[in-house]
Assembly symmetry: none
Homo-oligomer: 346 residues x 4
Amino acid sequence: MLIVMKPNAAAGDIDAVIKVIEAIGFRAHAMPGATRTAIGITGNEGPVDGRRFENLPGVAEVIRVTKPYKLITLDLRPDKTVVRVGDATIGDSGLAIIAGPCAIESRDQAFAVAKAVKQSGTRFFRACVWKPRTSPYTFQGLGEKAWEIITAIREQFGLKVVTEAVDESHVDLIEKYGDVIQIGARNMQNFSLLKRAGRSKLPVLLKRGMAATLEEWLLAAEYIMAEGNYNVILCERGVRTFAQHTRNTLDLASVPAIRRISHLPVIVDPSHGTGTAYMVTPLARAGVAVGADGLMIEVHNQPELALSDSAQALTLSEYAQLIEEVRAIRDVTAPLPAMARKKASS
Amino acid sequence: MLIVMKPNAAAGDIDAVIKVIEAIGFRAHAMPGATRTAIGITGNEGPVDGRRFENLPGVAEVIRVTKPYKLITLDLRPDKTVVRVGDATIGDSGLAIIAGPCAIESRDQAFAVAKAVKQSGTRFFRACVWKPRTSPYTFQGLGEKAWEIITAIREQFGLKVVTEAVDESHVDLIEKYGDVIQIGARNMQNFSLLKRAGRSKLPVLLKRGMAATLEEWLLAAEYIMAEGNYNVILCERGVRTFAQHTRNTLDLASVPAIRRISHLPVIVDPSHGTGTAYMVTPLARAGVAVGADGLMIEVHNQPELALSDSAQALTLSEYAQLIEEVRAIRDVTAPLPAMARKKASS
Amino acid sequence: MLIVMKPNAAAGDIDAVIKVIEAIGFRAHAMPGATRTAIGITGNEGPVDGRRFENLPGVAEVIRVTKPYKLITLDLRPDKTVVRVGDATIGDSGLAIIAGPCAIESRDQAFAVAKAVKQSGTRFFRACVWKPRTSPYTFQGLGEKAWEIITAIREQFGLKVVTEAVDESHVDLIEKYGDVIQIGARNMQNFSLLKRAGRSKLPVLLKRGMAATLEEWLLAAEYIMAEGNYNVILCERGVRTFAQHTRNTLDLASVPAIRRISHLPVIVDPSHGTGTAYMVTPLARAGVAVGADGLMIEVHNQPELALSDSAQALTLSEYAQLIEEVRAIRDVTAPLPAMARKKASS
Amino acid sequence: MLIVMKPNAAAGDIDAVIKVIEAIGFRAHAMPGATRTAIGITGNEGPVDGRRFENLPGVAEVIRVTKPYKLITLDLRPDKTVVRVGDATIGDSGLAIIAGPCAIESRDQAFAVAKAVKQSGTRFFRACVWKPRTSPYTFQGLGEKAWEIITAIREQFGLKVVTEAVDESHVDLIEKYGDVIQIGARNMQNFSLLKRAGRSKLPVLLKRGMAATLEEWLLAAEYIMAEGNYNVILCERGVRTFAQHTRNTLDLASVPAIRRISHLPVIVDPSHGTGTAYMVTPLARAGVAVGADGLMIEVHNQPELALSDSAQALTLSEYAQLIEEVRAIRDVTAPLPAMARKKASS
């Protein structure tokens, strides 16, 4: 933390800032320059809310130096986290694919998609039970009835199931019947839910919020980890911008940005990230090329009849084609992310 | 679907329509207006065949609603909603001010601010008990201990208390000890929380999400109303944009935009909307001039020592000055918003 | 400028950074802390491009301290600039209104509007001759033929004419026939045009670019002033965001933000800032209440027949009503902006 | 309006249609394709009565174009445009790389970079002579003195030179000494400059504006083409959003979005699109994987001493590594973009 005083700040203004710093238990370091004085703060274990100084007389600017996160950092853990779900993994040299419908709609639909997902060699099945929908008047998911279908799919296909929790009671059910807890974009700063997920033994897939900065997203992961659950997977799914040719703007630069700071694995969701089926495969290729640890893809046996997000679901054959293409790219780029990290940490 | 009754429809006619709605498995929402009653239908996933209602006694018109919202619309209720909290109101000709600290920190702090708020003639006290904070390592509020202080303030000053609920269990406590439930920006699409608030008898103040379109915000209000709670107050608090000179970009055009569509009252929060104390008063003046029904203002007896949001809290004397200024503007603009609405609906 | 080294930076890394600083002619000040070293840079007259240091080994972060602008600042000129156009002014205690059609379409249209503008007591007439249009196939303005009409309006009504220059040759014509050069949002970073306007003797009205930060906007003004033309008026006209209920999002907080930094007058354009006639008057009221020095308003005698921007033009009677309302607000807020500035500069 | 000729239409039929178009005061744009010729009409402000063309010899169909653009569309020209610069190409099956420093700073610098660019097998050299800089106090380019260096580079290395034009006079010089005219992001809606480039015989590389929608960007290309210059290359270079971990947010979804609408080639600039050297290679890989026709890359022999954009320039060895990686990805994805287009148009 650095407090920059105005050029004409009086000596008394500087003393007053120092007194506030000391009053809240820290050490102040006044560094007079040619035209202005800057005051450093040390002794802070956690971050200090620097904005308290902004309106004191003579203060020009408050600059935060220490980043507010700890557990997610490469400083804390220089080796990348590999999340293990039984015998399946996310974050190692393989490409982790999570595929499935937007929501479980029926046994026939779920089994048709699960069969195709299994055949593609994918280990994770996306299976939402409750849907957070913008309008209260649209399909909200099958709810608990879907668990029976999911249980059958886990048994028959051996797939690991990823399910979104919309509130704390859902986490209880996912712990009973599922494999991975998903926190959706709309709940990225639902801190009660983050804390509950942090007390779970299951891994947590944390989607980026629609308007979340990188720092806010990493701090949401920090909420989960601060409760003791270190198995967090980050998922870039696009952010809200002025652009209207896609539902969201997929921010693939977040992948190398996270790699430079954090040991957590990060995957890309081109289905929500674009909102349009014809764009999913090109952006999935780009997500793998940029160095993501995996992808989340929406697939439906009959996209035109899907009860939610039908415009972005791939058909079974489009999905099979996507898998082939992204594996070809992974084969030529697999050694690269590690290299990129070495460069970044130099 | 909206069923508009004739001006002279009997109470029995209205009941009969409601019974048919319920008999086919939907929910009916009767909204009496000055000259006629409109009945909204919710719970329909697919379209409803509206012709069945057209020949019932007392029915004037059946309107298919193409916009995804229903209950919030001026079509349903042409008269503006006035939210009543005991003898205090939001949405009538007066200017409703909600003022107080970001969070209850201590008895001394809370009483000092409450006294100033009371003296300014303001009826609502902002009193947060739990703080949704971006980082898990910053002050999270006093929690339930704060209720004792709040209870004393309600008794001594007669102020109505507005408190943010971060999860469903908080709503229980606010119902026990508070007056108005606030849903914060980060929880605007926490649909479980919205539904819980919709089952409460207390009014709900719904802040706009950081990246929420007007439609998403109004649909969040619709979630609350669809559960039967029609006392919703909207609060514009700025959205996230590329601009960095403020914490958020206050979108004052949302006020006339809402007026044109909805009967719900709307207030402006220039404290979160700018994030900086020196901007709060100019933007509060602008919020009143644009036609808002009220303001939410952060005040602190010692802003430089505040445990959260210290940079945006006004001092007690800045607050007193703000109240004077915004009342002067209200005096010259009071008749205008109604006029603007007439123009809009012509 | 401050370069923050990583906690594990080697002594050699620090020396290497210092050598680069010295190689480009500045002084380096290494300040070792408990866990990391920060290196300050002094001796820079103009700003240093700090990004050159970001990829050097051991560097964690580069923090810019000195702001890059000079001539626009209150540090340089503590008294507010009053721009004089003959006997009319912008930036003093009066409210400056610039009103007129989006573009000159015909003599009848221009005279009908100019008459109403004159009657309202307004001194500035908005009269565009060339229109920068997004599509090459839409109305591009009357071009030079419009000058004959404008000359007649200046003579008959004594109005000062504000005209947008789309390229350097337009500046020549405005110097011959007009009063104020407008630089539009799309050209805010057309540096050749800014420099040409900077060499003119006419005042320049500089609109904020659609995606311009405050700093970029002020630096565009700095380009004009660096050529010797200090009569610059800033105009907030909204920025591009995700919001779709308005054409742009009017960022009224830019007004107090500029007041705190700069002596230049700033006006608000609610016509382009909202893009919709029914919102123009409420946002004009808000612009005056926030402390702007004036307004730019689009008026048309037959908005429904306007050849460009017809949706946002006010009718003559709506315009007359607007003027009455904003003057009433100015009367109660006139002394406030000065006060706000005093507070800001303390 | 678009007139589609029959596959067997004679050259005389086409000429006859063009004569009618010109006789009624419009401009005709004949675009021969593999199987048929389409003729676009521009210069019409109001609608044209298309029936007059339906009975002319050789006319197959008259299409009213509802989108505001015409010449850029796949409707007009179903085959992708291949831009030819001497014996180098952009838009065919090869991957076009444009590489070089942000600006020409000295003969030594330019030759060192050009040598590395030539060795990598790249055909295009990025060589800016004038720099549009946000602040008037930073390095503005060598200006005309740089042309001597560029001329020597063209002779010695046979590279095609891409240079940004900041105003119309620059286009004259690029026509004299250069190969490709670049229109930068800040000038994407500088319509005078677009029209001047449209009257040039050189190809034009059109960067996307910082806040440009897809439609605005394509309409800027339409401005160039409407003047008769059909050799336009689009360049995605990131847009401005709230995200702060990159200088801009690279919107790679624009590549498939353009493919679906337009025949123009599109390349990606990960240097400006991220603003940080360590991200350039991952995003370059992503740009090729998403299906772009090429890349624009900033390279410098001593990035830490660069006079502009030093943080985003790659070293010569990083650049060599990038070329190797993106070619490997192109090898596995080369057949894909065509496939994606087939799917899109089905």
